[in-house]
Each structure stands twice: as C-alpha cells, then as structure tokens.
C-alpha cells in the first residue's frame, strides 16, 4: 500500500507535516506492514487540507481530508491495518465516490495530471506517468518546424494572461538568426490571490522542464531560464531537484538522449516586484537591473535577454507542451471551444465553499465552476460576483453566471481569462472596495516610468478612497472614467494599460453601488467602515452581556438584564458584536 501526503504550500500551512510525522511514527511502530509513505504536491482540494491518499495494491485510491494526527491514528488502525476505510473522513475515491466527488468529476486534467499523484522529487514517478515522452518524440522523430506546426495545430494559447497563440510566438523566435537564443519560463505569478503556477512547480516540476526543452529545440535555444517568484521557496527547491535529476538522466544538458541537442536550464529568483511579470521588465531583472519595462518593438523575439532573440512563456503554457507532443495536437484541440482549446487551471478562492486548484476543459460556464465544482458561497449568502484576472482583470456579476469560460466570451464582459485567479464574492463584499483594493495594488507596484500610470492611478486611487470614506462628490464617477481611459491609452506597459479594468468593470455592473456611496453615503454591502453604524435595538436586547464581553474595545455598555447600547465614539466597527448576539438585537446600516 502507498500513502501519499499532500505537502504543497497549503498542505504544509494547514499542518501536513504533523500528519506526515504521525503516519511515519505509526508505521515505525508496526514494522511488519507493507506501507510506503510518500510526499506529493497539491491534490486540488485545498479546502480539505491536510489531505492524504491511500492507494491499495490494485491502484484504488481513497482520499482523506481534514486529517489531524489523531485522525491519522484512526485511519491507520481502521484502513491500513484493518482494511476498512474510515468513511467519515473520506473525501473522494478513485471511482468518483466520496463526499466531495463532485469537486473532481467536472474537471479534466492535463496540466495537473501528475500533480498530487507523484512525488515531485522523484523523476522516476514522473517518467512512469509519461514525463519526457514528448521530449523524446520531438527530438528523435520531429524537426523543429514539425514541433512548431504541432503546437500551432493544437491551438494552445498563452496561459499567462494575454492569450497569444504559443505556436505563433515560437515561429517568430525560430525565424530569427542568432548565435544564441533563450527560452524563458515566466514563473513570477504576481496576481495576489493566484497559485496555479506555484502548484504546478511544486507538484510536477518536470512538466515545465519538458516544455522548456521542447520549446528550446523548436526555436533553436540552447539556454533556458525559469524566472521564479522569490516567495516560492518550496517550488524553487523542487525545481532545483528536478533539474538536477533530469541532468543526471541525460534529459537536460549536453547531447540530450544522444540526439545532439543540448539544453541548459537556470533558475533566476525574482525579488518581489509585480511588474517583473511583464516580459521586458523580466528580462531587465534577469540582467540584474531595476525591473522597468521598455518600449516594444523591438520585441523579445527579436532582441530579448542580453540582446538575443528570446521567447517567454508562462508555467502553465509550458506544462501543456509535453502532453501535446506526446498525445498529438488533434487530441488537445478536441478539448475546449471553437476558438479556445484545451484546459485552464484556476485558483478558486475567496468566499467559496470548496476552494482549491481546479483544471477545467475550456467551455464550462462560471456557474459550473462556482456552483458545480466550488459548491457555492461558504457563507450560504447570495453569490454576488467573481473576479477573474486579478489586478488586470475584472468582476463578472451574478447575472452573467452562465458566461462561457473562453478567451473571447470573457473579454466581451470586460473581464479577462487572466492567468487563473478566480475570486468568488458574496453579498457582503463591496464592489467599490474591491476596485480600490486592486488599484491600491497596481498603484504601489507601478514602476514609475510613465506619468499616466504613476500619477494617473494615484489620482484614481485617491478618488476611490474618498468614495469609500463617504467623501465622494458628484462628478467622481465621470472623473474616474476619464482617467481610466487616458491611462489605458497612454501607459507604456500592460500593468498601466490594464490597471483601470477592475474599476471599469465594477462601474459597468455595479454603478449603483458607487452612487449609493457618493449620494446616499451608504455602503450597501455594509463593508466601508466610515459609512456604517452598529446599533442595538433596546426592544430586542435582553441584556445577556454576550456582545459586551466580545467587543475588543469595550464600546458596549449596559447592566446585565437591561438593554445595552453602543458608544459610537469608541466603536471601531469590527462587527464582532453582530455575530455574537443570539437575539437579533444588533443591526448594521
């Protein structure tokens, strides 16, 4: 029997290490048993971490969620020793059963096919599940032109946000004549609330290495770089191990698989700057400079890293490549919609019941993902909107829940496919506040090179801050729209050009909320503190003192068994009292 312990970042954060130690100890106490304990990456159901999967000798897997060292003991005794699953903790089974089966059944895994199944630090397990077969096929039986034609035919588009056809990009880079070219993997993953790329690197680093090597062969690059976000220590460590193992197997380095093709891969750690996800800034950063974008053209395909032709692809894009070459473009193109092929990985988070990493065939609807896979809102309150594409993207309101997830349909809503962040919001979330949140992010990450982005976003942010503080005035909305238009048209790079999107989409679908803040000085979602007031209804209050005990600043006064009241001067509007009153005496408006 084999026991896989989910030790992606979230598994570790949720206490996965303690669970692993518990199982290791239990196994040591029972020397006779046939049990291999191994680590794996993200299994996808982050909301059920810590998770373990027990795979029996027939290959049947049982996934347990919410495991603690105590539950580990139970699982060990019942299932591992006794052969009977500890049903109350089972979340999924190989046959689609288990309490959370519907989280998985709508998904289709290409990029994540090995994530959560293999030990990411074992190249043998990756190879046993198909890794490097695509590389071998490309090097041994295809010309670089054939590889590019195959990638073009698959229809795969860049998963980093812009959605540019990958085959086309490779074609441009391949057409350049140069003594040296580079292929670069963009693993900067800057969207604050997205973790697709990190999970792929943590769970199956070989898929990215294989994609880079195939890409290097296709465009004629013998050197590759992975530009990884510095905040991803586990991903970087596992990638380092994977590169070393691939080199030892002759799958990287000189004369790969005896074919004469050589490819060397290096890791560069970012240092915390969102703008470095932009291609020219990323190149500047690898060169050791401040990560400031520059004018294009020249495009990186002509003049990129160290002045040489370079091709930049996102982690998820590259993780598709091995699969495409191995299984053929046709099989890939059979998945998806007419214009958008394949699958897309999303980091489903926010006010969602079942948050985690999901990979879906392109063409499902937002409803399928939010309700079918995600189980709706965690609060049970009405679903209000979903935010796609992070700081460059936008909010799609509940009435558009049947929007199909593909590049063109999403663009038409004003949002974007983005790199895969999908944040669910319920009726307690204020849309003006969300716009302010993202603008605050882009404003502080603006590199400062061009005025429209640096000063323009600052002015927009100031207006949004005023509105959320109840100091909005007539004309603010129009001013926001004017600034947004100017910034979009005049900023140098994608950061500035897309920065107004969160404001524009919320204005498009939730204009009434802006107006309520400005005209009525009310926050309909009861979130903007300056605009709300907590009050106790003396007719309903029985004086149980529960709220007074919970208030962190002692703002609630009153004798036991008599009606209490809130001292508005002291109240910091934390909302603790509201949820502590069992008699419905406290209200917010």
């Amino acid at each position: 029997m084999k026991l896989l312990i989910g030790l992606g970042s979230c598994g570790i954060a949720a206490g996965g290490m303690k669970v692993r130690d518990a199982f290791t100890e239990l196994s040591a106490q029972n020397p006779g048993i046939d049990l291999v304990i191994a680590e794996t990456g993200c299994m996808g159901m982050c909301y059920k971490e810590p998770m373990v999967e027990l795979i029996d000798d027939k290959g049947f897997g049982t996934v347990y969620g919410g495991v603690t060292p105590e539950i580990a003991k139970e699982i060990f005794e019942k299932h591992i020793l006794g052969g009977v699953p500890a049903e109350e903790y089972v979340v999924a089974k190989s046959d689609g059963g288990g309490a959370e089966g519907s989280f998985i059944s709508k998904q289709q895994r290409i990029v994540l096919s090995r994530c959560g199944k293999i030990n990411p630090e074992s190249i043998d397990e990756a190879i046993a599940m198909g890794a490097y077969k695509g590389l071998e096929k490309a090097l041994k039986s295809m010309t670089p032109e054939e590889v590019i034609a195959e990638v073009l035919a698959s229809g795969v588009k860049g998963r980093g946000g812009a959605g540019f056809p990958t085959g086309l990009k490779w074609k441009f880079a391949a057409a350049e004549k140069a003594d040296q070219k580079y292929i670069i993997c963009n693993a900067d993953e800057g969207d604050p609330g997205a973790f697709m790329d990190r999970s792929v690197l943590e769970g199956d680093p070989h898929s990215v290495i294989e994609g880079l090597a195939i890409g290097g062969y296709a465009i004629g690059a013998s050197e590759g770089y992975v530009y990884a976000r510095a905040e991803y220590p586990i991903a970087i460590k596992r990638l380092q191990i994977a590169i070393k193992q691939a080199e030892e197997r002759g799958l990287l380095g000189d004369n790969i698989l005896g074919t004469g093709f050589s490819f060397h891969l290096h890791i560069k750690q970012g240092a915390g700057a969102f703008v470095c996800g932009e291609e020219t800034a990323l190149i500047a950063s690898i060169e050791g400079q401040r990560g400031m974008p520059r004018m294009r053209p020249p495009y990186p395909a002509n003049k990129g890293l160290f002045g040489k032709p370079s091709n930049i692809n996102n982690v998820e894009t590259l993780a598709n490549i091995g699969w495409i070459i191995r299984n053929g473009a046709e099989k890939f193109a059979a998945i998806g919609t007419e214009k958008s092929k394949g699958t897309k990985v999303f980091a489903l988070a926010g006010k969602i019941k079942r948050g985690g990493l999901v990979e879906i065939p392109i063409g499902l609807t937002i409803r399928d993902v939010v309700f079918g896979i995600g189980g709706g809102t965690v609060s049970g309150k009405p679903f209000k909107a979903v935010q796609l594409g992070g700081p460059s993207g936008g909010c799609i309101p509940a009435e558009l829940v049947d929007t199909v997830i593909d590049y063109d349909t999403l663009n038409a809503t004003g949002a974007i496919m983005g790199s895969g962040g999908m944040i669910v919001m319920d009726e307690d979330n204020c849309m003006v506040d969300i716009a302010r949140y993202f603008l605050n992010f882009t404003q502080s990450e603006s590199c400062g090179k061009c005025t429209f982005c640096k000063i323009g976003t600052k002015r927009m942010l100031e207006i949004l801050e005023r509105i959320t503080k109840g100091e909005g005035v007539e004309g603010d909305i129009e001013k926001l729209e004017y600034l947004a238009d100017q910034i979009r048209r005049n900023a140098l790079c994608g950061l500035g050009q897309t920065a107004p999107n969160p404001v524009l989409t919320t204005l498009r679908y939730f204009r009434h909320e802006y107006e309520a803040h400005i005209r009525d000085k009310k926050c309909p979602a009861h979130q903007c503190k300056a605009l709300i007031k907590y009050e106790i209804d003396p007719a309903k209050c029985i004086g149980c003192t529960a709220c007074a005990k919970k208030c962190p600043v002692n703002a609630i006064e009153g004798k036991a068994k008599t009606a209490h009241s809130i001292d508005q001067a002291k109240c910091i509007k934390c909302g603790t009292c509201l949820s502590s009153c069992k008699f419905g005496a406290i209200s917010v408006d």
Binding site: K268, Q269, Y437
Partner: protein, 166 residues
C-alpha cells in the same frame, strides 16, 4: 577587531564567502544581494559600500536595485517576522480587520518593527493558502481563518512564550 572600521573581521567572513562564488558582474547583482541579505538579515550600509568597491558597480546602482525590489531590507528586522496576507482571497475575507487588530495589538504600523525588537510586521500578497483566508504567517508557521480576536490572542501567546510583557 579591525581598527579602521571597528568591526570584528568575522563580520566580513560571510561577505567574502558569498562574493567568492560570483564573478561580480552586473547580471549577478540580484542573486548577490539575496545571498547577502540571507547572511546578514538585511543589507547593511557598509556591506553595500564594500560590494561596490569590490565589483565596481556604483553604490547608486546597487541602491537603485535594492530599493526597487520589495524583498530587500535596508534595516534590521525583528526576531520574529509576522507577515499578514493582503492577497485577494484574504482581502475579501476580512484581512483589513485582522490587520487593524494586529497593528493595534503591536502598537506599530505595517513595515515596522516593535521597539523591543521582537516582531517585524510585513504585508505580503498571497501566502498560498487562500482556502485558509485570512492568513498570517509567523516565521514559517501559517495561522488561518483568523478574526480580530484570534489574531490578538496569537500575539499575546507569542509574547507569553517569549517571556515578555507588552
């Protein structure tokens, strides 16, 4: 003790070891600074000067890079690092309320260190455990599903463990 700079010669040992692993060219500047910060906890002024002398890269250029990237610190950090996540998932789940409680409890602002040198409070974007939002990380341990009162208790527990009063 070295007379010219009043620093123990041991102080520069990590610097020398780190530099010996590089050629000292511009494209290595970020990795060099990352290694130096790892060794010294931050980027001390004298280390930056020495790096400039050794590599010929101007101090202004080194400072330009060190101030551009948020990873680099120019001041020493506290004994424990408390990182509060301001990623989107945490934001929609009330990170701001948690942050206010945290700042109030510690009596410092984001980015500052407590006067006793015990805690440096930083904000980060997504710690990667969004399903536990809102999240803070103390050193390497994550604490999730926080509320204002839970986070106050966590800080009080930390002070108690350190045997210090606030």
């Amino acid at each position: 003790m070295c007379n010219c700079c009043n620093k123990d010669s041991k102080y520069y040992e990590p610097f020398e070891t780190i530099l010996s692993g590089f050629r000292g060219v511009e494209s290595e500047l970020i990795p060099i600074l990352q290694k130096l910060q790892e060794a010294y906890g931050y980027l001390p002024e004298d280390i930056i000067k020495r790096l400039s002398e050794r590599t010929g890269i101007f101090v202004t250029q080194i400072m330009g890079v060190a101030t551009f990237y948020s990873q680099f610190k120019l001041r020493p950090a506290g004994k424990h690092s408390v990182k509060i996540c301001f990623g989107t998932a945490c934001h929609v789940n009330g990170a701001e309320t948690v942050a206010e409680a945290l700042c109030d409890e510690l009596g410092i602002k984001l980015g500052e260190t407590t006067p006793d040198g015990l805690i440096t409070l930083e904000s980060v974007a997504c710690l990667g455990c969004c399903s536990l939002a809102p999240v803070i990380m103390i050193d390497d341990e994550a604490f999730g599903r926080l509320t204002a009162s839970k986070v106050r208790q966590i800080i009080r527990d930390l002070y108690e463990k350190e045997g210090k009063s606030k």
